[in-house]
Homo-oligomer: 305 residues x 2
């Protein structure tokens, strides 16, 4: 998924993984550890971090491999700087060879029902939790004249939108804007930028999210089969892991490089037919939900606002 | 540009315009005033607001028209709420018929050179300055069971990216993610969502921006002819105002509705050829700038970091 295994050998490399104590991040950390990489994981929950460390040991390839876990929130530039510095300490303060920014979470809700705190959190956990890490790491890499790669993790919702995710889609779109800008700008330094758009993954965050997700959003998502974090982490080359997301990648490519001019053209032809049909169907579903939604707003006392 | 004049008559309508004291916002305010609308402008600079009020008077159509200006920063939910409430006061506290969220500015700089404050400002002025207004207005509209329209103003840089804008593209991409989500979600309420992607406009903000813009960014932008705010405000239907942006709109459509299946298909075919060529040329320019850029970093003392 993140890279073509032919062109990149993880053995002996220092891989820095945020959000690496569960879900996609953990699956990726184990895969890299099994390939002989040094792995540094940053996440918040100390118990999950401890468990992740145990899991990494089960796939250890050599005594020389260094596995580290650190508890930081990553929501500010300062915390992101501290986390990266901690991970670099036992690597002679040298920047990691590859960073995978998997931290993030979503709070699905109807726009008018979000609180200001929730909307702010949406951007914090959708965008800043990765952007600050990338910013400090890039500065360090350039200052040390090091090359390497930074991989952001957006979402299918970074390429298209679904009602109920107005607090999440903006941050995931923003990540895409950042990654696209940096992909070109960082040719200046020889730093590679990737961005992964995973579809629905059945991870702990997803279960958490489902508890509060609007019923309408669940219905629209039904078509999305989802896949496990392991499948995503094992998936093919850069950047998508399923046909749905690939269609949205191609049909929202803008100025981003294609994954192959001809194949992308064919996918785009299909997308040109099925996405408008999907959109029309989705619009119809939303309109049909109108009465039920006003009832819901009545029940939660919205009109007293 | 913002709507088809055939389908919407501004006369007697209350139009709420943020960032309306200069540039695109002011041009739009005058156009709506000339069509007989009540106009409320929100911006920061009190002198510019006073001048804007004078300009509105020059196009007044009837005594009944109410022109108002308010000074608010709009960067927080609270300020955005206060601004809208102030504008609604003399309209019996009823929500505006149409809101045009034109507030915003950009700080172009290389990613590793941004300060944390500048990156935060990038998202504040690229995204939140419009998102908070939309959020509070939408809540009020739904609570009052009113319909109407909300128009966001993104940028060509909300559909594609250019090196030097890593502090701006994310916010403008985020706005696009928000508008696309709300376009569908707000079918629930009958509130119309539009988003405009203006190309380079020769406005006061642009002149400000050019003073600090990296030389490389200027070079890449040369191909973009730009247009005046008046041209943009007079331009045709929803949503773009030049062929370049239209190409990026079509080639980054994702799940957004098309402006016409056949014409968009033709534009997309052209885009499929010229955008990859443009990208390749841009990548080459960036690589060629590498040495000059390291010299620049040396000069500003970056490596002491």
């Amino acid at each position: 998924m993140f890279w073509s295994t032919k062109s990149w050998d993880a053995a002996g490399k220092h891989c820095y993984i945020t959000g690496g104590s569960s879900g996609l991040g953990l699956a990726l950390a184990k895969m890299l550890a099994a390939q002989g990489a040094h792995v540094s994981i940053v996440a918040r929950d100390e118990q999950r971090l401890a468990r992740a460390l145990v899991e990494l040991e089960t796939v250890r390839q050599s005594k020389a491999q260094l596995f580290q876990v650190f508890s930081y929130s990553l929501l500010t530039a300062e915390a992101s700087e501290a986390a990266l510095k901690a991970a670099m300490e036992r690597h002679s303060d040298v920047t990691p060879d590859a960073a995978f920014l998997c931290a993030g979470k979503s709070i699905p809700r109807f726009f008018v029902e979000y609180t200001t705190a929730e909307l702010t959190e949406g951007m914090d956990f959708g965008y800043w939790v990765q952007a600050w890490s990338a910013w400090f790491l890039a500065k360090k890499m350039v200052a040390q004249r090091r090359t390497g790669s930074i991989t952001f993790v957006s979402s299918t919702l970074g390429l298209m939108t679904v009602p109920g995710y107005s607090g999440y889609c903006p941050g995931k779109h923003a990540l895409r804007g950042l990654a696209d800008t940096l992909r070109c700008e960082f040719l200046l330094y020889g730093i590679d930028i990737h961005i992964f758009f995973p579809p629905t993954m059945f991870t702990p965050s997803y279960e958490e999210e489902n508890k509060i997700k609007p019923a309408l959003t669940k219905k629209i998502e039904e078509a999305d089969g989802g896949l496990t974090a392991e499948q995503a982490a094992m998936g093919q080359a850069h950047i998508t892991a399923d046909f749905l997301t690939d269609s949205f990648r191609v049909s929202s490519r803008g100025s981003a490089p294609s994954n192959g001019w001809i194949l992308d053209g064919v996918i785009d032809l299909a997308a040109r037919v099925w996405i408008p049909l999907w959109s029309t169907l989705t619009d119809r579903r939303v309109r049909a939900h109108r009465e039920g939604h006003y009832q819901h707003l009545q029940e939660i006392g919205f009109f007293a606002f």
